[in-house]
């Protein structure tokens, strides 16, 4: 980012930055996620707005010291509202040679490099691939000794040595002490960017309460790093990022997976229903299983099933029995669950399928983000099997998206797919806590009485006798006397629910199932457009691209470019006003972390052109990439298109 403002004018005054992007990079075993997380928490409670991007390998411990084993955590902190983790870090903390090798290209020109110079021995350099050539004749090349870092402000610190030194009087063995070097780095960065010290020291005490020696080592290393900044002239000035002026309220720092989990807990409360979660561990969705397993006092039952198919089966069985049945997974799991989701469509029961998308196909990039399951969500079932699909767009929005998914599922008695992705799942942002009392009541009544009278005057129960408005069928749960009924995958007669293979009935039921999903559109609020409403170019988005689109549109507008944006949450059915809205613009740009799946869908639905902007690198968009697409679109407008938007 280029709009960092150095507001200092005197040498002894702390310098003020409007934002700062720090990337902590090290070996998978170096505790970079913990370090980044801690820097984030301190900044959040200090009052900065922020956004984070954890970026770690699929292997738990890839070979130590190699580029493949590098784990990084990027955080953007600001004194104003921001949405992205920043395109290019201002500061890169490289705990070893491999981290420098892997991430140097991300650092902005002239940026600050904080290097643990103890991890640049010959073996370290070889493992990191800093060699003249591969093979028997290769010689290590030390980037600290040539001119390759000339364009940066380099701070070489013997972090491992200094950490061992401060731990020695505590009686901690050097090998154990070495593990605290990430806290040295955190201490140094905390000094350089004027982060409060006490919360982290307090946190270390609590986090490592069970192992006093580790707590002592971490505290000593943290303090040593901080003092190193204060006493070593080479470190230079301190910088400050002042609190942002966020709307008044109580805030917490939240990741998408935690927000989604809490949204599910809230959905159960708002629906007045117990929750049963069927889930099978899969990256990056497992944290939802972990989180929900911690909150049993809300009447939540979690079943770690034998496989993905069983997990969705458990959810559907629970829904049949009167719970809010939920299953959480990622793309490969959705593929396996497909047959059961179709059964849920046929037997018209509420159920939530949560897909935390990752790079595919197959195992693909398990720890990296992608939004390429949209087609799977929209179309990935046998038969004519429509269902509602919604997508969350920010970590905090996952909370509300979960409630919305549950609301639709319950009201219309249908399975609903909620799409999130790896970036939202692990990324975090400050979240202004909602007023719990203002959350919607999404409860629906169970049917407890017969709903039909036969010709001879006896009352009976028709499981497929529908609500004329929502087309939802009655939900009568086991335990209800007199309403015993059977559901199943065989085609049912509308009304009675008896098996019915007649041609007219199947066509009628097929149309009904589609009409029921289409009816959800009535609940979708008008699509919000922001920016220059009269622009010729609209940037449309869905899912986690929201952050990069927001930043890009803001910056192009500051640069004098007229551009509008809209972001949709409901992907099936689409918002009823979307077609007309898109037709108002000369050019619609649609950035997606896939090869243009929504663009394709919208072209087919509305018969209008859409400029797809695609990225499939396992990483979120940089704002700059979307800015470029906006500029290209504006430049390419013909003269008669320019200013034609009414």
């Amino acid at each position: 980012m280029t709009d960092t403002i150095d507001r200092s004018n005197t040498a002894d005054h702390d310098r003020v930055l409007d934002h700062l992007v720090v990337r902590f990079a090290g070996d998978s075993g170096d505790g970079m996620q913990l370090t980044g997380d801690r820097f984030t928490s301190v900044s959040a409670s200090f009052g900065n707005d922020l956004s984070t991007l954890p970026d770690f390998p699929a292997e738990i411990r890839a070979p130590a010291g190699t580029v493949n084993g590098v784990s990084a955590f990027q955080v953007n902190i600001a004194d104003h509202e921001i949405t992205t983790p920043g395109d290019d870090p201002n500061v890169l903390v490289a705990m070893n040679a491999a981290a420098l090798k892997a991430d140097l290209h991300r650092l902005q020109p002239g940026g600050t490099l904080i290097i643990n110079e103890d991890s640049f021995g010959e073996r370290d350099l070889e493992k990191a691939g800093y060699v003249t050539e591969y093979g028997p004749n290769s010689e290590p090349i030390n980037p600290l000794e040539d001119d390759s870092l000339n364009g940066y402000r380099v701070l070489r610190v013997p972090m491992t040595t200094l950490t061992k030194q401060v731990c020695e009087p505590l009686g901690i063995k050097p090998r154990d002490a070495e593990r605290s070097k990430n806290f040295f780095a955190l201490g140094l960065v905390s000094w350089m960017y004027t982060r409060p010290v006490e919360p982290t020291e307090e946190w270390i005490g609590k986090k490592f309460a069970k192992n006093k020696q580790v707590a002592a080592a971490n505290k000593a290393a943290f303090r040593a790093g901080f003092n190193f900044g204060e006493t070593t002239e080479a470190v230079g000035h301190r910088y400050e990022v002042r609190p942002a002026t966020l709307p008044a309220g109580t805030y917490t720092s939240i990741t998408g997976n935690t927000a989604l989990s809490w949204g599910l807990v809230a959905a159960g409360q708002l629906a007045k229903l117990p929750i049963t979660l069927g889930s099978y561990p899969i990256t990056p969705a497992s944290d939802i299983l972990h989180e929900l397993s911690k909150h049993k006092q809300f009447g939540i039952r979690t079943v770690q099933a034998e496989d993905e198919i069983a997990a969705v089966g458990v959810a559907l069985g629970a829904s049949f029995a009167g719970h809010l049945g939920i299953t959480t997974t990622s793309g490969p799991g959705v593929a396996l669950k497909s047959e059961t989701i179709s059964l849920a469509i046929a037997i018209e029961l509420p159920m939530l399928i949560i897909d935390i998308q990752r790079g595919g196909p197959s195992t693909g990039l398990p720890t990296k983000t992608e939004a390429s399951d949209l087609n799977l969500a929209l179309y990935g079932r046998h038969g004519e099997s429509p269902l509602p699909v919604i997508a969350s767009y920010s970590p905090a929005h996952c909370f509300h998206a979960a409630i919305e998914a549950a609301r639709i599922a319950l009201k219309y008695r249908t399975p609903v797919i909620l799409l999130s992705d790896g970036y939202l799942a692990n990324g975090s942002e400050p979240w202004k806590l909602p007023d719990v009392g203002s959350l919607p009541d999404i409860s629906v009544p169970f049917t407890t009485e017969p709903n039909h009278v036969t010709a001879d005057g006896t009352e009976d129960f028709w499981p497929y006798l529908r609500d004329p408005e929502t087309l939802a069928r009655p939900w009568a749960i086991p335990g209800t006397p007199g309403l015993m009924h059977r559901v199943g995958g065989l085609e049912k007669a509308d009304g009675t629910g008896n098996i019915d293979y007649t041609p007219e009935n199947h066509e009628h039921m097929t149309e009904l199932r589609a009409a029921k999903v289409a009816a959800v559109a009535a609940d979708i609020p008008p699509t919000e457009v922001s920016g220059d409403l009269d622009a010729d170019v609209l940037v449309l988005g869905w899912g986690s691209t929201w952050a990069a689109i927001d930043a890009a549109v803001q910056r192009r507008r500051r640069a004098g470019v007229k551009v509008a944006k809209a972001h949709i949450t409901h992907l099936s059915p689409l918002p009823p006003d979307l077609g007309d809205l898109l037709r108002r613009y000369e050019r619609v740009i649609l950035p997606e972390l896939n090869r243009g799946q929504l663009a394709h869908h919208l072209r087919g639905t509305y018969l209008i052109d859409i400029t797809s902007v695609s990225k499939v690198q396992g990483l979120p968009f940089k704002s700059r990439e979307i800015e470029d697409a906006i500029d290209t679109a504006v430049t390419n407008l013909s003269d008669d298109q320019r200013g034609a938007t009414s």
């Binding site: 807990v265 069983a310 009167g322 199943g488």
Partner: protein, 340 residues
């Protein structure tokens, strides 16, 4: 299960209005009748009973029971039933499956339901053939079986359903057959009384695609010589005059012997409560094929922690320890700060 007084019911109360659509002469009719007749004896209410099935001929079963029911998808009934039972431990949940549904496409769910000891009554109709798809061999078909998909004979080694169940740590394992309503009802009753996963294999005749598969054992003329009735605490004897029996040899294996040759006190006394499954396993594998003496009855019936109760206990324990869930507390649980 509810402790409340349950209204007295009759077979009619358990019979749905749906026309039964199995082939005439199918063994499934006998099983359906046995269940519908038995249900009033169990002291439970139709509205608190759920039948879940997969796909296959046997899986049509729930449509004919006037209870709550789901005819689900191929192989998945144990998983779906686990969801029903976990959400609602107050319900009586039955799983109806077959040799293809339960042991082929759904084998994984079956073994895990048994391992977890979910309170389900699982009835596996074993006819050693795929009936609904018109006659392919199944995972319980014998090697060499000639079917539409094995014109030169099957080369697959079959499963022994009881061995699978015992290997999966099942706490209740039994075998019965479709020609003996009383034996079926006694077996189902014991399965229902058992807290945990109950697995019952039912030898069932498919008179269209595999007629007479079990005649060598279950037909009246064969029974005396071929059926071994297991009774808990009794020596394992069979034959028209109980002249034969099962003995555990010094080699540890089970042998069929003439009682006169070894003496009654050498005959194995059946112990369905034995914690160790090895004797039940040996009994389950006593018959090498459908033309050799075959044990029927309850092989294993032990008590161990039941899954849905354990899950409910944790929900209760969490509520007691933390109080009922409160959303405001949850949202503030990761630490908060205030912006004025």
């Amino acid at each position: 299960m509810s402790t409340e007084q349950v209204a007295v019911t009759t077979k009619k109360d358990w019979t749905s209005s749906q026309e039964v659509r199995w082939c005439p002469g199918c063994g499934d009719y006998g099983i359906l009748l046995a269940v519908q007749q038995l249900m009033p004896e169990l002291g439970v209410a139709p509205e608190n009973t759920v039948f879940v099935s997969g796909i296959g001929c046997s899986s049509r079963f729930p449509y004919y029971m006037n209870t709550y029911g789901m005819h689900s998808i191929h192989g998945r009934a144990p998983a779906i039933a686990t969801g029903v039972a976990t959400a609602r431990p107050d319900l009586d949940v039955w799983v109806i499956t077959g040799d293809g549904d339960g042991l082929s496409i759904g084998g994984n769910h079956l073994i895990h339901a048994l391992r977890r000891n979910v309170n389900l009554n699982i009835l596996l109709f074993n006819n050693r053939i795929y009936g609904l798809t018109k006659g392919q061999y199944s995972p319980t078909s014998e090697v060499g079986k000639v079917t539409k998909s094995t014109p030169m004979g099957s080369v697959d080694a079959p499963f022994n359903p009881l061995s699978v169940a015992l290997g999966a740590e099942a706490s209740f394992v039994a075998r019965t057959h479709d020609l003996d309503r009383k034996h079926m009802q006694e077996t189902f009753k014991a399965a229902h009384a058992h807290q945990g996963a109950s697995f019952v294999e039912i030898y069932q005749n498919c008179n269209v695609f595999n007629d007479g598969q079990f005649d060598g054992v279950t037909k009246k003329a064969s029974r005396d010589e071929m059926m071994i009735d297991l009774a808990h605490g009794e020596p394992i004897l069979f034959g028209n005059e109980n002249q034969r029996g099962v003995m555990q040899g010094t080699d540890g294996f089970l042998h069929i012997v003439e009682v006169a040759d070894v003496g009654l006190d050498r005959i194995l006394v059946h112990d369905e409560k034995n914690e160790h499954p090895s004797l039940a396993f040996a009994l389950a594998r006593l018959n090498s094929d459908d033309h050799s003496p075959t044990p029927f009855g309850v092989f294993r019936n032990i008590e161990r922690a039941e899954y849905t109760k354990s899950v409910s206990d944790q929900v209760l324990a969490a509520s007691e320890a933390n109080g009922p869930g409160d959303l405001n507390t949850l949202l503030a649980s990761n630490g908060t700060w205030t912006v004025n």
